[in-house]
C-alpha cells in the first residue's frame, strides 16, 4: 500500500503545515510517511504544494509522480497540478477558491467552502484543518484520533480551535453531497 496525497494552494494558507500534520498522523498510526514541500520565494501568495506519501513499507523514493488524492485550495495551484492526479484519483477542492476544473475525466470530485466556514466559525487560517478533516473523512487514510494527536504534538498554535476545525471538516464529509 502506498498512497500519495498532494495538497496545494497559496503560500500563507497553511498548506505545508497540513501536510506535516497528515504525515505525522500516519506515523502515529504506525505507518511510514514522508512529507515534501515546494514553494516559491514569496512568503505569501505564490503557489505551493505539500506532498505526503503514506505506506506500510519504508519509503525510499519520496517523490510523487501521480497522486491518488489531490487537495486544492486555489485555482492557480489546481491548474498547475491537476495533471499529476491519477485517472482513478480523488480531487478535493475549496469550492469558493476553485471554480474551474481544467480536466474532464476525474472519477471523484468533492468540494466544500472550507475558507468561508473557517472565516465564519473559526479563523481564516484554519481552512487547512477543515480541508484536512474533510479529506480524511472522505478517504479514511489516517485515523481522526491520530490527526488530533498530531496537531497537539506539532505544537500548533491554538491547537484546540484547530482540532474543532478539523472535526468540522470530518463532520461535513459525512453529509451527502
Amino acid at each position: 500500500m502506498r498512497i500519495e496525497i498532494r495538497i496545494c494552494g497559496l503560500g500563507g494558507q497553511g498548506i505545508i503545515l497540513a501536510g506535516e500534520i497528515l504525515g505525522l498522523a500516519a506515523v502515529l498510526d504506525g505507518k511510514y510517511a514522508v512529507q515534501m514541500r515546494s514553494y516559491g520565494s514569496e512568503a505569501r501568495g505564490s503557489t505551493c504544494k505539500s506532498d505526503v506519501i503514506i505506506s506500510d513499507k519504508i519509503i525510499r523514493y519520496p517523490i510523487i509522480e501521480n497522486c491518488d488524492i489531490l487537495v486544492s485550495m486555489s485555482q492557480p495551484s489546481l491548474n498547475k497540478y491537476i495533471d499529476s492526479l491519477k485517472p482513478s484519483g480523488i480531487l478535493i477542492i475549496d469550492e469558493d477558491l476553485v471554480k474551474n476544473i481544467p480536466r474532464k475525466r476525474i472519477e471523484k470530485i468533492y468540494g466544500l467552502k472550507a475558507t468561508r466556514i473557517a472565516e465564519e466559525k473559526y479563523r481564516r487560517i484554519m481552512a487547512n484543518m477543515i480541508m484536512l478533516g474533510y479529506m480524511t473523512g472522505k478517504t479514511g487514510i489516517v485515523s481522526i484520533e491520530k490527526l488530533r494527536e498530531a496537531i497537539k504534538r506539532r505544537r500548533v498554535k491554538m491547537a484546540e480551535i484547530n482540532i474543532k476545525a478539523l472535526e468540522e471538516g470530518v463532520k461535513l464529509s459525512k453529509l451527502k453531497v
Partner: protein, 370 residues
C-alpha cells in the same frame, strides 16, 4: 520523531555536543538556525545571528578556539562568502561544522529549488592546498546521523567538516530515530606545552588543540606557521611541512573516513553511482529494473571527500557501464570517471532547474538503451 531534515540536523548537533552556532538567514538552510535558536539556550549554548556569512564562519572559528564545538549552516551564496574563513579553519586546524544545503546556482540562482552543484566547491572552494572532509546525507535520518558524524570527524581530525545536504534532505519530513547510544568524540586537548599545538613528528599527525584563556600563550595564525604557531612568511620548509601534513592527515586516512552504501549484484553489468537526493531516485529505478529481471548495482556515497576512489574502481572492474545521475552538469560524474580509471564506460545523467529531480523513468530509459 517526524522531523524535517533541517530540524534533525540541529537536534543532532546539540546531541553531538555543539554549544555555539552562528549563522545568517538563507533559504533553504534557515530552519537549522531557527531550531538552534530554540534549543541551544536550553543547554547553555550560544546562538548568534551575525551580520553576514563571513562573520558567521569567523565567529564559529573564534568559539572553537574558546573550546566549543561550533557550527554554522548556509547555502550556495553564503558558502561562497565563507570560503576564505573555511580556508583559515583548514590552515589553523580549527574543528567546526559547516552545513551546506545546496540550491541552484550560480549566484542567487533559484533560491528555494534543489540542486547538487556544490560538489566541487565543497572540496576545492578555498585557495591553496588542503584536503576536506565532506559528508552527504540523503534523508532526514541521515541529517541526524551524519551531523553527529561530522562533529566527530571534525574533532578527531581537528579540521572543518562540511555536511553537504540538499533541498531534499533538508526539507523532507520523515521519521527519524534517535539512537539510544550516540558516540561523541571530543578533540584531544592540549593542557601544557609538552606537545606542539601545530605540528607532529608523524607526517599524518593531528596535534592536540589548546584553548584560549588557559594561560598557554597560544599563537594562532592563518599565515604559514611553525609547530608553535610562529609566523613564517617566506620559509619554504615550514610551509611545505605544515601544508603537507594538513593534507595527509585527511588523505592518508581516507579508508577510516569513507562511508558508503553498497548494493552490489555480482553479476550485474550495469552500475549506478550516486549521492544525496539523486540516490532516492536510484532506489526506485533499481526496484523497477530488478522487478523486470535486469541486474544493476548501486553505490551511494555518504562520504564525498576525500573521494573513495577504490570503491568506484572495484565497481568499474565488475560492470561494463556506470551511470552517474546528479542535479548538476556532471561535477560528480567527473570524479567518478577519474576514479574508474577507464575500467568501465561512464554515462552522465544530469538535470538542473526548478528543483526537479531525475525520475526513475529517465534512469531506466538509459539502462534500456545500453
Amino acid at each position: 520523531m517526524f522531523w524535517q531534515g533541517n530540524v534533525a540536523c540541529a537536534e543532532a548537533a546539540v546531541k553531538a555536543g555543539c554549544r555555539f552556532f552562528a549563522g545568517y538567514p538563507i533559504t533553504p538552510a534557515s530552519e537549522i538556525a531557527e531550531r538552534m535558536a530554540q534549543i541551544l539556550p536550553e543547554v547553555h549554548g550560544i546562538f548568534m545571528q551575525m551580520e553576514d556569512e563571513i562573520a558567521a564562519i569567523n565567529a564559529i572559528i573564534g568559539a572553537s578556539w574558546a573550546g566549543a564545538k561550533s557550527m554554522t549552516a548556509t547555502s550556495g551564496p553564503g558558502f561562497s562568502l565563507m570560503q576564505e574563513g573555511i580556508g583559515y579553519a583548514f590552515m589553523t586546524e580549527t574543528p567546526c561544522v559547516i552545513v551546506v544545503v545546496q540550491r541552484l546556482g550560480p549566484a542567487t540562482g533559484q533560491a528555494s529549488k534543489g540542486g547538487q552543484g556544490n560538489f566541487m566547491q565543497a572540496r576545492w572552494g578555498t585557495h591553496g592546498d588542503y584536503s576536506a572532509i565532506v559528508l552527504s546525507p540523503n534523508s532526514a535520518q541521515e541529517m541526524f546521523d551524519l551531523t553527529v558524524e561530522a562533529f566527530n570527524l571534525s574533532e578527531k581530525y581537528r579540521t572543518p567538516v562540511i555536511l553537504l545536504a540538499d533541498e531534499l534532505s533538508a526539507h523532507i519530513v520523515e521519521p527519524v530515530k534517535i539512537p539510544e547510544r550516540i558516540v561523541v568524540v571530543d578533540r584531544r586537548k592540549a593542557r601544557d606545552h609538552s606537545e606542539p599545538f601545530f605540528g607532529s613528528s608523524d607526517p599524518k599527525g593531528i596535534p592536540p588543540m589548546p584553548e584560549v584563556g588557559e594561560g598557554l600563550n597560544i599563537l594562532v595564525t592563518g599565515s604559514t606557521h611553525d609547530e608553535w604557531g610562529y609566523r613564517y612568511t617566506s620559509d619554504p620548509d615550514v610551509h611545505r611541512k605544515l601544508v603537507t601534513r594538513i593534507y595527509w592527515k585527511i588523505e592518508g586516512n581516507v579508508r577510516d573516513i569513507a562511508d558508503y552504501e553498497a548494493d552490489i549484484d555480482e553479476k550485474a553489468k550495469v552500475g549506478i553511482v550516486s549521492y544525496g537526493c539523486s540516490s532516492r531516485t536510484v532506489y526506485e529505478a533499481i526496484d523497477r529494473l530488478r522487478g523486470r529481471g535486469i541486474r544493476v548495482s548501486h553505490l551511494r556515497f555518504r562520504t564525498l571527500w576525500p573521494f573513495p576512489d577504490w570503491i568506484v574502481e572495484e565497481l568499474a572492474e565488475k560492470v561494463n557501464v556506470i551511470l552517474v545521475p546528479e542535479l548538476s552538469l556532471g561535477q560528480f560524474c567527473r570524479e567518478v570517471e577519474r576514479a574508474a580509471h577507464g575500467k568501465a564506460r561512464i554515462i552522465s545523467i544530469t538535470k538542473i532547474g526548478g528543483g526537479e529531480m531525475i525520475t526513475p523513468k529517465e534512469i531506466i530509459e538509459v539502462v534500456e538503451r545500453i
